[in-house]
Amino acid sequence: MTLLIPTPVTRRRTRFAAWDVPLAVILSFLFVTLVIAWSLFPSLFAGYDPYFGDTSRKLLPPSGEFWFGTDHLGRDVFSRVVHGSWSSVTSAAIAVCIGLVVGGFLGLVSGFVAGWTDVIVARFIDVLLAIPNFLLAVVIVSSFGFQTINVAIATGIASVAIFARVMRAETLKASTSVFVEASGLLGGSRWHILLRHILPNAYRSILALAVLQFGSCILIIAGLAFLGYGDPPPAADWGVLVSNGKDYPSSPWLVFAPSLVIVATVLAINRISRWLRR
């Protein structure tokens, strides 16, 4: 029965399926693009100065003019969220790059070069996994100094382990496969096998993981900023905004608005990662 289906049809169907992106994923992409645009060109989106307040209009609830209301100094919260996206987004990007490069390299070496190298690297990954992520980041920030860039580096180091573990598993899976054995028998060098067979096979799950980690790095960075380990106010990092807002319980929008942006961003990123992994 299945043999009777002509191949061109199946091809066209799979190609169509490749473009068949669910609506939620399209919306997620749009939202993430919007956030990235905020961080790159904040002045296009923010109508007010994020650092200068007008106390005559302090603690105003959200309205047509101030979408997210104003804070205790009369600063427009929406403008602060838009301006704060730069440090949140770039910190998360730096963290993911560190995790991806260092962790990916460790995992690749450990999975591909067997023997003592593997044993040592695998134990090192165990050690990194054993220390709770958030605590590890706190320790690193506390010894580097309280700055947003150090928060990014710390979060990156804390996410090395997960990248290394996934990369190692992918490398092991690919390097025991028949096509790698065949390539070796045909005279393919180790570099050839690594670049042509193992990396392309690991690529997809590593990409999905990187996107997922981008989301969780935003959460960790917001948490560290919330505790005051990043740049101090008037910096407008999202975690700082939530932390400032919680002191004004009678103006709940000060907390709700930045929280909503954090959650929506991470939700969108997670949806994209899920779609990549499918």
């Binding site: 992520n133 320790v139 506390s142 100094g145 959650v263």
Partner: protein, 335 residues
């Protein structure tokens, strides 16, 4: 007989590996704290703002061996750590182990109640995911775990405080150790963990529902509840043991921020205080203890797991075990 000695061998190897990992975690933390920024303890002691007199500093330097090479300092610290001596706090001059012990009960209560919340929520979600009307109920419900993974504990915590403390007055944040305040703190810490457990549980339940023995059981006319409890839930629930062990790290790390929001004192506030006052021995102790707890809980989970899963008992019978497979012969262990 053979299987039993295999299990014991596996247990000993796992135990040895765990001890190595704990010692390495201590070393790694030590290197981050002491080597990267270059002798922070001496710098902190010499900083005139911190108000240490030379007479105060001398015994501290001698105690930690700060005038010796780093490797020797590490050796001194590590040999104390092995016998349970966590050093002396630079700020309060008290033994760190005492500080940790007095902070521990509150954090333990919080973490365990958060775990309980996480398990209850995860099991409820998992049960509902199989038994609600498929089209709308299940579809919406299955979005929940993924969605709540995107909400960090500190946002949940602040929302709970804003809504239940300030609007409804169900608890007061001025008395953070009251039952209601603890319960809400546990919810904030537990929800992200419950999402992870629920995701795995729902995936496993779906997997079991596709198995042939499940269809057989259904065609035998079992009641819906029996079907769920015995043929779907039981085999699905075992990986939860592993999930709980992995969640320990998140509960410990998350307690830092949850304690800060709900104004509780505990390990989290101890670390926060130590970080802001540069009390490095306290930071070192808490981080390496957290790693030790994580490693030990995971060791227990790995060792108990084969005993819980009847499939692992029978699978190994009558053939040579694979090298990297956890093994056990429960009949032998039960004797």
């Amino acid at each position: 007989m053979n299987h039993r000695s295999n299990y014991i061998g596996y247990a000993i190897a796992r135990l040895a590996q765990s001890i190595v990992v704990i010692a390495l975690a201590y070393t790694f933390t030590f290197l981050i704290i002491n080597v990267l920024p270059g002798d922070p303890i001496t710098n902190m002691l010499l900083d005139p703002e911190n108000g240490f007199s030379p007479a105060d500093i001398e015994p501290i330097i001698a105690y930690y061996g700060l005038d010796k090479p780093v490797l020797e300092q590490l050796w001194i610290a590590l040999s104390r750590f092995v016998v349970g001596d966590l050093g002396i706090s630079l700020r309060s001059n008290l033994p760190v182990s005492g500080l940790v012990l007095s902070a521990l009960p509150s954090t333990l209560v919080l973490a365990l109640s958060a775990l309980a919340v996480a398990l209850v929520v995860a099991f409820l979600l998992a049960f509902a995911s199989q038994n609600l009307p498929p089209r709308y109920g299940q579809g919406l419900l299955r979005l929940l775990p993924a969605a709540s993974l995107s909400v960090p504990a500190f946002i949940i915590g602040i929302f709970l405080i804003q809504i239940f403390a300030f609007q409804f007055g169900l608890f007061r944040i001025t008395s953070p150790n009251s039952f209601a305040a603890t319960a809400f703190a546990a919810i904030a810490l537990g929800i992200p963990v419950s999402a992870q457990i629920a995701e795995v549980l729902i995936a496993n339940l779906d997997h079991e529902a596709r198995q042939e023995y499940f269809s057989v059981a259904r065609s035998r006319g079992l009641s819906r509840f029996e079907l769920f409890a015995h043929h779907q839930f039981r085999p699905s629930s075992l990986p939860v043991v592993t999930m709980i062990a992995l969640a320990i790290g998140e509960l410990l790390g998350g307690s830092l921020i949850t304690e800060s929001i709900f104004g509780r004192t505990g390990i989290g506030s101890l670390v926060q205080g130590a970080v802001s006052s540069q009390d490095y021995p306290v930071i070192q102790a808490v981080v390496s203890l957290a790693a030790a707890v994580f490693v030990i809980v995971n060791l227990i989970a790995d060792l108990v797991y084969p005993l819980l899963d009847p499939r692992l008992r029978t699978r190994n019978r009558g053939r040579e075990p694979l090298a990297d497979e956890p093994l056990v012969d429960t009949e032998a262990v039960a004797k």
